[in-house]
């Protein structure tokens, strides 16, 4: 009887999870999505906990849940610029949970009830631990890169034969895994199982080392997908359909986001994971010295004030400089003067999908003015001023024109078609991918060098100060 109640609760929770994601299709109903998700989760936890024939150690459960709250609440209060690393960390936690549960299940059954280790369950357990542990270390590495920790290399680390080493390791792990699957109760099986875990942990690290910051949106999406798939594998092991459905929802979300990110960079999964921007680095120094044109803040402010349409193109530099609030002040000043201001959002701007939207929403920019790349590009020739704030590769015309460029074929925001371009840039160095950007040398482009927050702040002062009304 109580089994029926548990299953019923799981079915309701599944429906609520699907509805929660459905409500995310519009900002107006999105918060209802969170409420639906919370309700489903509470229901799932209570239904699982309240099985007196299964659960006997309540103190352990209560203690672990309390600790989860203790760590989870502060983690939810990080500044929004730190959201990519928080997301990577939570993928790491998700992978760890799946890996540990898979390990516990195997160790338990191999000691007490080897008959339960059917081939099907063993395949699921091995998939669960490989995905879980590689997501754990891979996401930790990604979080380390995003947090710019000293001991985590920021630039892609590549060496000859890297892919052979990585794939070789994975092949050994899978080979050992197959051994355990076929002989789950053999005397050496536990040792081999531990070997699979060690290799998965190592593989996660090696997989992320060659990946640069510009590829982070894709990598975070792929790790998201892995975390979901490891939950699915856990569902197969535990014979639990709620785990399978919720994990599949997460897995498909990660998959779709990865596809969108890859399309936005004109690259394939394999290319992101195995083709680091390594070759590019050698080439970048060969470019001849070209001259930048710069403009004074007064001049820039005057041009913007007389414009009809100003398009602001934000990039990771805006996030680094925490410039979103100053950008919003500039937006307000221009709007007050009757200038139409739009934001052009490239899908891979920033370090995770949707990163720019969240930062600008935090700064109270109405979301109707955040325009996707495909929607804004037809308007770019009518645009009087394109203001590039800390974006680089996503506005590089080489993607359209230079077949030799590593970003050739990537869809870009066509800032170069605007009548005038102002580009705010921290330094004269090339961007993350190490590629020269011809936009900066165009006749119509004027550079404003400096920290994005300081430069935009000074621009705002031009408007709010004396003289201009």
């Amino acid at each position: 009887m109580s089994e029926a109640i548990t299953q019923l609760a799981y079915a309701v929770a599944t429906a609520l999870f699907v509805l929660a994601l459905h409500w995310m299709n519009d900002p107006k109903t999105a918060r209802r999505g969170v409420q639906g998700g919370v309700a489903a989760m509470v229901l799932a936890i209570l239904a699982t906990w309240a099985q007196p024939q299964v659960i006997v150690h309540h103190v352990w459960i209560a203690g672990a849940i309390a600790l989860g709250f203790l760590v989870g609440v502060p983690l939810s209060r990080v500044p929004l610029t730190a959201v990519p690393q928080r997301t990577a960390l939570s993928h790491a936690f998700g992978g760890l949970a799946a890996g540990l549960v898979g390990t516990a299940e195997y160790l338990l059954w191999v000691q007490e009830n080897a008959a339960r280790l059917t081939t099907f369950r063993m395949v699921a357990i091995v998939a669960e631990i490989i995905l879980g542990y590689l997501t754990f270390t891979g996401s930790l590495m990604a979080a380390g890169k995003l947090m710019e920790l000293k001991w985590v290399p920021q630039r892609p680390v590549t060496y000859p034969g890297q892919n052979v080493v990585n794939l070789g390791l994975l092949a050994i792990a899978v080979g050992l895994g197959v051994g355990v699957i076929v002989n789950p109760a053999a005397s050496w099986a536990v040792a081999a199982f531990m070997g699979v875990i060690a290799l998965a942990l190592l593989f996660g690290v090696l997989l992320i080392i060659p990946i640069g910051g510009a590829d982070m949106p894709t990598v975070i999406s792929i790790l998201n997908s892995y975390a979901g798939l490891s939950a699915v594998a856990m569902g197969f092991v535990l014979d639990n359909k709620l785990l399978i459905t919720a994990g599949a929802l997460d897995g498909s979300s990660g998959l779709i986001l990865s596809i969108i990110m890859c399309k936005a960079m004109n690259r394939s999964f394999a290319n992101v994971l195995f083709g680091a921007f390594g070759q590019v680095e050698a080439k970048k120094t060969t470019g001849e010295q070209k001259e930048y044109k710069s403009e004074t803040l007064e001049g820039a402010a005057q041009v913007m004030e007389q414009a009809n349409l100003v398009v602001i193109v934000p990039g990771y530099g805006m996030a680094v400089a925490q410039a979103q609030h100053k950008v919003r002040e500039l937006y307000d000043q221009l709007k007050k003067r009757g200038v139409t201001v739009k934001f052009a959002i490239h899908p891979v701007a920033g370090r995770m999908p949707g990163h720019m939207n969240v930062l600008l929403a935090e700064a109270d920019v109405p979301y109707d003015d955040l325009v996707e790349m495909d929607a804004i590009n037809p308007d770019m020739p009518q645009c009087d001023v394109a203001l590039v704030v800390g974006a680089n590769d996503v506005v590089n015309p080489a993607a359209r024109t230079d077949k030799g460029s590593p970003i050739y074929g990537m869809p870009i925001i066509e800032a170069d078609k605007a009548r005038t371009v102002f580009a705010i840039k921290r330094s004269k160095n090339p961007g993350f991918a190490g590629i020269d950007n011809e936009l900066y040398f165009s006749d119509r482009t004027f550079m404003l060098f400096g920290d994005a927050k300081a430069v935009v702040g000074d621009l705002v002062k031009q408007f709010s100060g004396s003289g201009m009304h």
Binding site: F17, A20, L21, M24, N25, P27, A30, V34, G37, M41, I45, W49, V56, H57, H58, W60, I61, A64, I65, G68, F69, G72, S76, V78, V83, R86, T87, F93, G94, L96, A97, A98, L100, V101, T103, A104, E105, L107, F120, I220, N224, A231, M234, F236, V237, L238, N240, L243, L249, D250, S253, G254, M352, P353, G354, N357, A361, D364, P366, Y367
Partner: protein
């Protein structure tokens, strides 16, 4: 119990997985691109449904080592649930239309 009809059950699990993936793809393709960051933190909290497996491992009559592994997994999942839902709501609160209305 599952052991009585194992073959049948495996197939039904695979079917559930396949159908849930299609539903997921269908629903998530319609999510506004504006909300891709909150979407990721929400699905992250949802995939912490691994909490169900962790509770079963941590709370059952098992040797202490096994329960300890389960308890660590439970802690990790719970952290994701709490921080995932809270930060998603925090971000969604910020998305406003012109004039401050939602």
């Amino acid at each position: 119990m599952a052991e009585t009809q194992p073959a049948l059950d495996y197939w039904s699990m695979l079917f559930v997985f396949m159908l849930a993936t299609f539903i997921g793809i269908g629903v998530i393709r319609r999510v506004s691109r504006l909300l891709h960051t909150p979407l990721m933190s929400l699905t992250n909290a949802i995939s912490a449904i691994a909490v169900v497996g962790a509770i079963i491992v941590a709370g059952s009559e098992h040797p202490p080592l096994i329960r300890f592994l389960g308890a660590v997994a439970l802690f990790a999942s719970m952290t994701n649930i709490v921080s995932g839902f809270l930060i998603t709501d925090r971000m969604l609160k910020m998305f406003k239309r012109e004039g401050g209305s939602k």
